[in-house]
């Protein structure tokens, strides 16, 4: 086969796409969840059950205050609605569908909480401010077949000047206990000087 014939065949060969770790709810090129879908969109979801999954309201629907408030208590988090971050790459819920991610984001005042119901090995602040940051692993279940927590959460305030990256690590289970750490996603939060708003993404 000569060079040019091989080239023609190549046109048909196509390109390969590397699968993402998480099935992407939003991929490059796909429409983003509407930024200002807001509480109305959330309410509509309940009003029209046949409309399918509804995008969660943006965490930025309410402006972030410059005032510093204390970290919310457990009751406040429970009462807070789920919100969508700027882009989640499928790792954090972007719609109200039960299958939309095993992680969720909630906001109370300037505080954000990211919670994942996934087998978790570690959560690490790679860099950035640790002020107000709280990371917690769920207790390891008292059952014989697992020795890792099945959930973890991170709570942090969103304030001007912020920049931080937090990595979530899971476990790749191997033969006869040959387990290893597995990257799950990195959470990025920033509110750079001069920016009108923060940015939170996780991929």
């Amino acid at each position: 086969m000569n060079k040019r014939s091989r080239m023609l065949l190549a046109a048909a060969a196509g390109a390969l796409a590397v699968p993402l770790l998480f099935p992407p709810a939003t991929r490059a090129g796909d429409p983003e969840p509407p930024l200002d879908a807001g509480a109305d969109a959330d309410a509509d979801a309940g009003a029209d059950a046949d409309a399918g999954p509804q995008p969660l309201p943006s965490y930025r629907l309410e402006p972030f205050s410059e005032e510093r408030s204390p970290e919310p208590g457990a009751g406040e988090w429970t009462a807070a609605p789920k919100v969508a971050i700027d882009r989640s790459g499928g790792s954090i819920a972007a719609t109200d569908a039960p299958s939309s991610g095993r992680c969720e984001a909630r906001r109370v005042r300037e505080w954000m909480r990211i919670r994942c119901n996934l087998i978790t090995a570690a959560v690490t602040l790679l860099g950035g401010t640790g002020e107000g940051l709280r990371m917690r692993l769920d207790p390891t279940p008292k059952v014989e077949w697992t020795t890792f927590p099945e959930g973890a959460e991170v709570v942090f305030p969103v304030r001007r000047g912020d920049r931080r990256e937090i990595e979530w690590l899971g476990v790749a289970f191997g033969y006869k206990g040959m387990n290893s750490l597995e990257h799950m996603f990195v959470l990025s939060e920033q509110w750079a000087p001069g920016d009108p708003r923060p940015l939170i993404v996780a991929e």
Partner: protein, 720 residues
């Protein structure tokens, strides 16, 4: 559809600038089911009525603002190609010869700007090296040996101002001479001024486009490449192929002010308390609001899983105050499950460093900002990739949204691309739904639709002008995915364009069953403590320095170049020897690489002319028996006798390295030595002056020289 595929290829054959094309009829294409339907869909249709994104930076491919044409700067064929849009098989590709090798092209409303590296330089290939091709045909003949196979260019760099022409493609309307090796290109928002970087001569020049004359030229740090002008037009940023710093130039319309900026490379992958080196910053782009500058590059010494060569990164500068967006890495805090603590201690798997893939792309070569979804599209020359990154992240390279392999049709048994290898330039359509990607090692133009995931049509622009063996070597040279030649980084990753990355690598010692390997930082050396930090190895330049037969390797341990290349296959990877391949696999690759190194790499430009008085004195010093320089650095053979000598024996190694018990080092070539700091095999001298001042009779005899004679010697060395 089959007809389209075939005709596209015939167009390609006719489009070769010189002798690259082969217009012979070809057999029919494969079945229509597999044919590139996007080509059919791209047959003439009305252009979308969307405003074109403003592009003010050059690339190897550019779209005209009116979306009626693409222009490809084809450096390896010495021409700019005009391709009509929408793509139509009835519109031939026009090849417009350039007066040298074009580096970048930028299409404005009524003009097309092209940088030409050096006037008069001819792209290596069949037209001018036929005899050489014949001499080196086949894989078993020894190299016949010519002192310099590809000559250095001697002409000035150029900025060409061209006018689109329906018949001729482009017509030159102005030509401005610039410092040699003109490369990167950008224009001010009012399009009155073009800024051009000159890589080898480390200059940036402003050109008054209306007057067609140079407004100013300033000296900057080594290897300036991408130029990006701020939206306010008041300042420009310049990236460098070597080093982690940027250059900012203010007052572009008046008296320029130059200053260096610090932009830490991959700070979140940096060992705590350190700063990393960087390389390969060919490209940069601004966010649409101009508030962020994104610089894809390679971070040397970055940590992560098996990050022997460092990490691919996109570093972000906040242009409001010129500070880096990403913070430096901190070692926690973290929360760790009890049963995961031992896994965090596995250094080979990344230890406590970020575990996210440190190589989402290899050898970044081009970038665009896709503002319709706030993503960055980064082309990876080494892994033939287009990676989609989240531009909203603090560290975009840690936030991969999609990875696309743009290459296809790999060779068997050497798995390097036959189609779209080494992507080097990208342009977006006005609606940003299509990307056109120029692939340098195969000279293809790939059409990438974001709205469609089927086979990607491509346009083969021309066949390689090199011999088949050297052309294969070109594709291997850029490639970082062939598991035999490389562990993730191609030759071009450390020897960009055959030059050097300015980095001092660590060659780890062989321990037990472990083969010695190269790593880019001491923190990455996985197996031991400080005693295993490795020997210091400063990356040598290759272009123009490997034509002569003789010994190669740090200690002249390789009798010929191919032996050294095969050794390199084992050294340049993560801690495993090449054991699963037969000798023929190694030999074929080494022969192909050898052919490309000697026939395809273009040496840096050279200034012709008589020596100055100081340089003449320096030459006398160099040639004198009193110094003995030329006894080892033999002028007739690239200024090296290729013999090993004991040098600087007994002195401690540079900090962070261990002493090499073998202190005899092969004499390196001095060609182009003025542009390749740092110096000595271990990079201990930052400048040539420091080397001559600190030589202390370790190499030849220089202690007796006066300060004037030492300065003259340096001045002469800079002419080589």
């Amino acid at each position: 559809m089959r007809r389209f595929g075939l005709e596209f290829c015939l167009i390609a054959a006719l489009a070769a600038c010189k002798s690259g094309g082969d217009p012979r009829p070809q057999p029919p294409a494969p079945s229509s089911a597999a044919a590139p339907s996007a080509v059919a869909s791209s047959a003439p249709v009305a252009a979308p009525p969307l405003p074109a994104p403003t592009v003010r930076e050059g690339s190897t491919v550019a779209r005209s603002p009116t979306s009626d044409s693409l222009y490809v700067a084809d450096e390896d064929h010495g021409c700019v190609r005009r391709i009509r849009l929408p793509l139509d098989v009835n519109n031939p590709v026009l090849a417009v010869p350039m007066p040298g090798q074009p580096a970048q092209v930028l299409a404005l409303a009524d003009r097309v700007l092209v940088t030409v590296r050096s006037a008069g330089a001819v792209a290596p290939g069949k037209d001018d090296a036929a005899a050489n091709d014949a001499a080196d045909a086949g894989t078993s003949k020894p190299f016949t040996g010519r002192a310099t196979l590809v000559p250095s260019a001697t002409g000035p760099g150029l900025l060409l101002v061209l006018r689109p022409d329906p018949d001729k493609g482009l017509v030159e309307v102005a030509r401005v001479e610039l410092p040699q090796d003109a490369w990167g290109l950008a224009v001010t928002p009012d399009e009155s001024t073009a800024l051009v970087s000159s890589a080898w001569t480390h200059k940036v020049t402003a050109v008054d486009l209306a007057a067609g004359r140079v407004r100013w030229t300033v000296d900057v740090a080594r290897e300036p490449r991408a130029v990006v002008v701020r939206p306010d037009g008041r300042a420009a940023y310049v990236t460098h192929l070597v080093g982690a710093g940027l250059t900012r130039i203010d007052d572009l319309q008046g008296e320029p002010r130059v200053r260096s900026l610090s932009l830490p490379a991959s700070p979140l992958r940096t060992p705590v308390g350190q700063r990393l080196g960087a390389s390969l910053a060919y490209a940069a782009t601004l966010s649409p609001d101009g508030r962020r500058l994104f610089v894809p590059r390679h971070a040397l010494g970055a940590v992560g899983p098996q990050a022997w060569f460092g990490a691919a990164t996109v570093d972000v500068l906040l242009t409001g105050d010129d500070t880096p967006l990403a913070p430096l890495r901190r070692d926690g805090p973290r929360v760790v499950a009890a049963d995961a603590k031992s896994m965090l201690e596995d250094v080979a798997a990344g230890g406590t460093a970020p575990r996210v893939n440190p190589a989402p792309f290899a050898q970044p070569r081009a970038v665009v900002y896709r503002d319709k979804d706030d993503t960055l599209l980064v082309l990876g020359e080494g892994d033939d990739s287009m990676t989609v990154l989240d531009a909203r992240a603090v560290d975009p390279a840690m936030h991969v949204l999609a990875s696309h392999r743009v290459a296809s049709a790999t060779d068997d048994p050497i798995p390097v691309a036959r189609v779209c290898g080494a992507p080097s330039g990208i342009a977006l359509s006005a609606d940003q739904d299509t990307a056109w990607i120029h692939c340098r090692s195969t000279d293809d133009l790939l059409v990438w639709s974001f709205a469609w995931s089927g086979p990607r049509p491509f346009l083969h622009l021309a066949d390689d002008r090199l011999s088949d063996e050297a052309a294969l070597g070109r594709r291997i040279y850029y490639n970082g995915t062939d598991p035999l030649t490389s562990g993730g980084l191609g030759c071009a990753g450390c020897h960009p364009e055959g030059r050097d990355d300015g980095h001092v690598w660590h060659e780890t010692t062989a321990v037990g069953a472990r083969h010695p390997t190269f790593v880019s930082g001491a923190a990455v050396v996985a197996m031991g403590g400080p005693e295993d930090a490795g020997y210091a190895r400063q990356t040598p330049m290759l272009a123009g320095r490997v034509a002569v037969e003789g010994t190669y390797g740090w200690h002249a341990e390789s009798p010929v170049l191919t032996h050294r290349l095969v050794n390199g296959f084992a050294l340049h990877r993560w801690n495993d020897a090449v054991t699963a391949y037969v000798a023929r696999d190694l030999f074929d690759r080494a022969m192909a690489l050898r052919a490309f190194l000697r026939q395809g790499l273009v040496p840096p430009p050279h200034v012709e002319g008589p020596l100055s008085e100081q340089q003449r004195v320096g030459r006398e010093v160099f040639l004198s028996s009193g110094t003995g320089c030329s006894g080892c650095h033999a002028p007739a053979t690239e200024y090296t006798d290729r013999e090993p000598y004991r040098l600087f024996a007994g002195l401690p190694p540079p900090p962070g390295f261990v002493a090499d018990p073998e202190s005899r080092y092969k004499t390196p070539s001095l060609r182009f030595v003025g542009g390749t700091p740092p110096y000595l095999h271990d990079g201990r001298f930052a400048t040539l002056t420091a080397l001559v001042q600190g030589n202390d009779d370790h190499m030849g005899k220089t202690s007796h020289l006066s300060a004037t004679e030492k300065n003259a010697l340096v001045a002469f060395l800079e002419t080589l």
